[in-house]
Symmetry: C2
DNA sequence: CCTACCGATCGGTAGG
DNA sequence: CCTACCGATCGGTAGG
C-alpha cells in the first residue's frame, strides 16, 4: 500500500536480479537464488514482481529507452558525421557506464524474452543500429568517410564493441567513460595506422 | 561397438546440440529438446554422450583449438604487423565461417562450463587475445601503428567484432569469409575517414 | 513477508 | 535405442 516503500523494494529486487542474471544467465538463475540474495523466501518475491520475466522486461526495455534517448539528443546536433558518430558513441558508453550490470543483461539475456516482448525489443534494437548506420552513410555521402567502406560491417563492428564493453570495462580503472568513447570513436574513424 | 557408426552418431548429437544451444542457450535447452530434434528418447542420448556438459565442453574446446591453430600459422609468417593482423583476422573469420553454429556457442555459452573446465577455457581465451594484442604492440613498437593508441581497447574492439559475427554474418550473402576478414582488418587499420 | 504446497520439468540411471 | 523411473528443482499460488 505504501507506494514509495514498495517501489524502493521492487528496485532492490530488480537490481539484485540484474546482478544474478549477469553472473549466471537468466535461464540458470532461479527465483530461490534471487530470494537468497535478498534474505527472503522465494514466494515473497511475488509481492513485488509479477513474474521472473517481468524483471527481465524491465531491465531490457529501460536500458533500450536510455540508449534511444541518448541518440535522440545527438541527432539534433548540427555537426559533421564523424562528430555525430563520436557523440553517439560517447553517449552510448555513458549510458552503459551508469549501469554496467543492466547493460550486460540487456545485451546477453534479451533473447529469453517471450513474444511479443522479444519482437518489440528486436525492433527497438534494429532501429537503434540503423540510426548509427545512417550517420555513417551521411559521412560517406558527404565525402567525409571513404566511399568504398562496407557500412553494415562498420556499424556491426561498432555495435559489437559497444556491446562487449560491459564484459571488460571497469569504471574504477584509469579511463573514464567519455575518454573511452572518444578513443573508440577515434580508432574507428582514423584507424590504427600511423599517418 | 562399431566405432565409426558410434562416432558418426555422436557427431550428429553434438551438431544438433550446437544448433539448440545457439538458439535457446545452454541452460534453457533440455536433453528432451535435443532428443526430439534427433527423433529419439532423452535417455537414449546417454549411449552417445556422458552428460549435457560434455557436449558443451566438446564444442568449446574444439573451437578454441581451431582458433589457436589458425593463429599459430600466422605467427610463423615473416611479415609486417598490419599484415599479420590482417592474416590473423582472416584466419579467425575462416574458422568461424566453417561452423558458425559452434562459433556462436563458443562465444555465448562457455560460461556454463563447470570448473576446472571453465578456468581452462578462459585461460585459452585470454592467451588468444594476448597474442593478438602482441601483434598490435609490435606494430606500435615498429612505428607502423600510432604511438598513442590504447592497445587494450583496440584488441577488445577487434575481439568483440569477431565474436559478434556469428550473430549477423551469413556466408550465403554476397561477401566471402576472406573478403570479410580483409575488410574488417582494413577498417581497423585505416579507419573510416577519407585520407 | 512467511509456511505449505502444486504440477511440471529437469538431468540422469537401471535394465533390457 | 527403449520403457520405466528417480530425486531434485523449477516458477508460481493460496492463504495468512
Amino acid at each position: 500500500m505504501n507506494g514509495v516503500a514498495n517501489l524502493s523494494r521492487k528496485e532492490q529486487v530488480i537490481r539484485s536480479a540484474a546482478e544474478l542474471f549477469k553472473e549466471k544467465g537468466y535461464a540458470a538463475s532461479s527465483m530461490r537464488d534471487l530470494a537468497q540474495k535478498l534474505g527472503i523466501e522465494a514466494a515473497s518475491l511475488y509481492s513485488h514482481i509479477k513474474s521472473k520475466e517481468e524483471i527481465l522486461q524491465t531491465l531490457c526495455f529501460d536500458m533500450a529507452a536510455e540508449f534511444r534517448d541518448s541518440l535522440d539528443k545527438v541527432e539534433k546536433q548540427n555537426v559533421s558525421a564523424s562528430e555525430k558518430l563520436s557523440m553517439g558513441i560517447i553517449g552510448h558508453v555513458n549510458v552503459m557506464a551508469r549501469d554496467l550490470t543492466a547493460s550486460a543483461v540487456f545485451m546477453n539475456e534479451h533473447r529469453h524474452l517471450s513474444n511479443p516482448h522479444l519482437r518489440d525489443f528486436l525492433l527497438l534494437r534494429i532501429n537503434y543500429i540503423n540510426r548509427f548506420k545512417a550517420i555513417i552513410e551521411q559521412g560517406v555521402a558527404s565525402g567525409e568517410f571513404k566511399r568504398n567502406i562496407d557500412t553494415k560491417l562498420a556499424v556491426m563492428t561498432l555495435f559489437s564493441s559497444l556491446n562487449w564493453m560491459p564484459m571488460w570495462y571497469s569504471p574504477e580503472g584509469s579511463i573514464e567513460p567519455k575518454e573511452l568513447g572518444q578513443q573508440l570513436a577515434n580508432m574507428l574513424v582514423n584507424g590504427l595506422k600511423q599517418n
